[in-house]
Symmetry: C2
Subunit: 318 residues, 2 copies
């Protein structure tokens, strides 16, 4: 297997985030969906980023991404400033209030794939305009597996395009509230089932502190979240989840009908999200070693393992 056989292309945002949470604040943190995704997935397989930054994007961030063996040849620099987002999380750390969004150069983002991008077998379409997600698919050459994420903004504004996109996607990652809003269903299980009916073989509904639901081959596999005692900043948890999930899946060459690999992928995704929320921005991921990930995956698997039902010694036979 050549290294290219299991590489992932991610197309999404690269941003400088300023985040206020009850645990403190992080200023101009390296962030954006493509950054969280690629930092998480690059532990498992080669990753190529297509995105855009402004002239003010620090070289140190480029160096960091390269040091994590992320291919950023597709990260273009345009005249102007980098995308900036400022948000504040309430006491429950569940939802962010956006204080400001300055799209800057991201407003002019038009993904262009070079030959290596086009032939990358795994494609992750991070949360961007569904029409741009389509553009990427139009350029890609028979990818082995396509996954995407989305958000309420596009669900409200571009539902038809999004629905059409889902017909061409293998794995959908989506938040609980967004899954319900998109499907019109009222609970997680029925939302996942409904969305799978629109195209994706696999639907992963992300529920933050409440874990996730993996829907695959007509069955539901729930997973709680790995308990994190000191939550600092939930930003990027979803993209880190997707990065861990797809990175792991690509690294084992797992397909869409390989339930055991999909379930391990969900576990790895949860673990990557649990690391991300332990520090502001992407800091926790920046120096993370595969050994730490493996250790937490094993601890999580043990935490989930309940011994089979033990019948008491015929105290009360039935």
């Amino acid at each position: 297997m050549s290294v290219l056989d299991n590489a992932i292309l991610v197309v999404g945002s690269v941003a400088l985030d300023t985040v206020h949470t009850p645990a403190g604040e992080g200023r101009e943190c390296l962030g954006g969906s493509a950054v969280y995704f690629s930092l998480a997935s690059s532990l498992f397989c080669p990753v190529r980023v297509v995105g855009v930054v402004g002239e003010d994007f620090p070289d140190a961030h480029r160096d960091l991404l390269r040091s994590r063996r992320i291919d950023i040849d597709g990260l273009k620099t345009l005249a102007g400033k980098t995308f900036r987002w400022t948000g504040r999380y309430g006491e429950d750390m569940a939802n962010a209030e956006t204080l400001s969004t300055d799209l800057n150069v991201f407003e002019r983002f038009k993904p262009e794939l070079d030959d290596i991008h086009r032939t990358t077998p795994y494609v992750f379409l991070a949360n961007i305009d569904p029409e741009l997600q389509f553009d990427v698919l139009a350029q890609a050459e028979r990818p082995k597996l396509v996954a995407c994420d989305t958000m309420n903004f596009w669900i409200d504004r571009k539902r038809p395009a999004l629905k059409e996109l889902l017909g061409r996607v293998d794995i959908l990652f989506v938040n609980e509230a967004e899954a319900k809003s998109l499907s019109g269903q009222s609970n997680t299980l029925s939302s996942a089932r409904a969305l799978a009916g629109w195209g994706p073989s696999v639907v992963v509904v992300k529920k933050g502190e409440d874990g996730c639901l993996l829907w695959a081959r007509g069955a539901a596999y729930p997973l709680p979240a790995f308990p994190v005692p000191r939550l600092q900043d939930p930003t990027g948890a979803g993209d880190s989840f997707a990065g861990g999930f797809l990175g792991y899946l690509a690294s084992v060459g797992g397909g869409l009908s390989d339930i055991a690999s999909l379930r391990r992928a969900a576990l790895v995704g949860s673990v990557m999200a649990s690391f991300t929320v332990e520090a502001f921005g992407s800091r926790r991921l920046e120096g993370l070693a595969l050994g730490e990930v493996r250790e937490r995956c094993d601890a999580f698997a043990r935490l989930l393992q309940v011994e089979p039902y033990a019948v008491p010694g015929a105290v009360f036979p039935n």
Copy 2:
């Protein structure tokens, strides 16, 4: 071990519930916290109910409870009508809107324990006035283990009494929203930790569709809910959970420091709740066999078991 060594005393409500859900309606269903708890726990160990009904309480219900080997000698009949509750669940089946509450004879409920009740080793104080819960404890003679449930109504009105009660309780079962309200914390994990600080060695936060969090010996054990494809009526899920949990724990003689038994108890509790919500009122529990429970427990344990982290074949060594 004699049968008495692992019996449970439950003190709570016995009601006739009328429930409207998106899946249909159930009229004058046998319900109440003591009923759900005892139907669930009686699969595992002997159960004694202390409660009150009115003269209109159908004999068929008494027969049913007895047929499930539930001791209802402590179920008093007072002049007047049985407690009735009418509620409606919205599309998400998460929260009920109360349409009417007729306490009737339940308003005059004053638990009185006879000698057998007093010496029953496991005690479950279902969701009633904390002062009545105290009354029961005052009458009980050195129970081996005391568990309780509560609700917002008492959290809002009798917080000091409730807090004092928790100082004398071993296991607290509580809903997610109530755990946050009672503890003043904003997430499940910190709520469980805070409430354990008030007395109970074990805290179980119930999260409905999102499963539960078991807090024991300073550590968190999350569990998703067993996926139920056709939810009919969520009424009684919490009390069925507590019944499965305590019934299993009593049947194996599990103590508060036996993490493996506590975790299996949480799994059994989840499974009992998953049966309850499959039909209106307590109907699904009424004819449930231990074999069905064991089968679903095993299926659930398999659903949770993720194989240990498999390192891909050195595709990308780190």
